[in-house]
Symmetry: C2
Amino acid sequence: MTNALRLPLSLLFTLSLSLILAACASTPAPIGTGDLGVVIERANGTVAVVNTSTQTVLGDIPGLGDLSHASVVFSRDGAHAYVFGRDGALTKLNILTRQIEARTQQAGNSIGGAISQDGRLVAAQNYEPGGVKVFDAQTLALVADIPAEYDAGKLSRVVGLADLPGHRFIFSLFDADQIWIADLSTPQKPAVQKFKQVGHQPYDALVTPNGRYYIAGLFGEDGLALIDLWAPQPQARRILQGYGRGQQPLPVYKMPHLRGWAVAGRQVWLPAIGRHEVLIVDTDTWQEVGRIPVAGQPVFVMARPDGRQIWVNFAVPDYHRVQVIDTQSRQIVQTLEPGKAVLHMEFTPRGEAVWISSRDANLVSVIDTQTLQTLSTLSLPSPSGIFFTSRAARMGF
Amino acid sequence: MTNALRLPLSLLFTLSLSLILAACASTPAPIGTGDLGVVIERANGTVAVVNTSTQTVLGDIPGLGDLSHASVVFSRDGAHAYVFGRDGALTKLNILTRQIEARTQQAGNSIGGAISQDGRLVAAQNYEPGGVKVFDAQTLALVADIPAEYDAGKLSRVVGLADLPGHRFIFSLFDADQIWIADLSTPQKPAVQKFKQVGHQPYDALVTPNGRYYIAGLFGEDGLALIDLWAPQPQARRILQGYGRGQQPLPVYKMPHLRGWAVAGRQVWLPAIGRHEVLIVDTDTWQEVGRIPVAGQPVFVMARPDGRQIWVNFAVPDYHRVQVIDTQSRQIVQTLEPGKAVLHMEFTPRGEAVWISSRDANLVSVIDTQTLQTLSTLSLPSPSGIFFTSRAARMGF
């Protein structure tokens, strides 16, 4: 009996137990996903997983390709992030295991996406080829391909994609002056409703938090397009015609973003494209009720979750600043300089803090929205978009 | 060498490895908490952990004492539920491991609680002894005790507790006709602001989703109390005086609940105490702008997250019904009968479904809010309150 070992039974158990305990110790205790999020490290194809309670980075997930202008939506369970890369790749991440669970090169040039109300469908809006592709959220298998064909063989770039109640998505056709709603109740046979001549060159859009209004900014004319989705027969109409975009066509250094729910009470706060102004629009009359001069061309105009503050960042050359507007007094209460090239801001779920990425300073700042003091800074290479899991519980995000 | 065992080394490793693998296999893959929730099984001191994606019960957590009228708040991470028992016990559950992590018998008779904006403080509102106690959310160590002493030696029962931005809580004193705001920025030394003579017997209250308005229902007079918390000098004032409570004092079979955010657009929808009516109030003028006759004395009047529907359940003897009101037409679009003794309703985070507990039918129904069809039923003994983790991301919940 070579290789034989003579051991007391108790020792054998002790040994085995030690090994098991060691194995168990390496399995971390389960954690919740309510206070997690991701930060895009745009230069190195990596996503950092962050915790908003501890204000720390938990780890990295590399290998995601070109993440310039990348955006993210979350699964219902909060454990999975869908990353839409500029290079047309769609990647499903598990932020708990920090693994890539699925990845598909779904287009040549993509500009973001959305997830259906029930979390079962993920949609990507593409520039090249122009259109929307819809995927099974579980497997990333292609469910539907909706080319944005507006004339024989002509495909438009698609922007302003958002989820609507049911299995519907709404989006704008930049090159076709149209807005489409795709209903995927029967995924193999999407029903598409088209709104034509909505205005020239819709460049981005938002859905109000209640899912009622879709507002598309127009790059090619002086105004915005609006659809009341609760109307018995929804129609597109122009609002804010002649607000100033065409009056004195300024060079536009960066396209503003409309997503971010700049809806505070009954007002919508919007970036005036090209101008150093934020517009205030009443959601009953859809008339302009005010405009606030700001420090540069606004990019993101975002409401704190309670609507009591609006936070604004800016295009080059004013992109080292962030301004905070009090919605009651309509005054700028603070101008912050968190670091060069502020690209994005994200509020914690209940709004006590905001996370701001400063790309060229390689840092993310966590700022108390009440005191406006910096609570923490996180060193991250070229951070851009910041996305927290609480988005999973919201419409139009 | 008794108890000795002669084994080949390879067999020993194989044995150990098997044991380790068995141990690892028993460690489940990590799951997100975004689609989890709990259902109170009021008769047997147990909480069921549920998943809203699969519409299933994941498991039970027993040993929680008297859970009649129990309510729940969630930690920021979504992994912990704080259960406020009617018997005055406060229990911290880990819904992932399904373990009790902390438990304290903090009062003799308790009626619910709240969690601070940053998730660090948990507050309980108590009938006996009347007051509010504040605990460290991590350990449940007592941080502050705020007796609701309104006269020498006289403590009021406390109701309508809600979180406000910062480390503040607001609550009503049923026996003292007062509303208090406790600021726990310095937890050891809470600063209490008192509003007196707000109206007779405030019995429950809500904070609007933006945290701006606090509305307390009055049991002892015909109206409600309102505070605009954004005003430079907040004051309590009466609204809806003479709406009908005093006109024809009906017996009240069950106190209505105001919590549940029946705020839809710019209207608040409220139960008319004692009357078979739901009141519609404009949040600008605070005038009544409509009332809807319903099937019984309303208990919960809850807005679907998008505000397009209001769901209402009723006191005895009409407590087998649920009515759905369309907020645009102000018509009742459906009367459902999900089962006897409907006690609570909870919308999924994005509102595509609602979960309804029918205590005496021992079931929870999951209903599609668009088609109004029943998607699933779950068998649970005497279910009452239903609470989903998405509450963690909301103010006043």
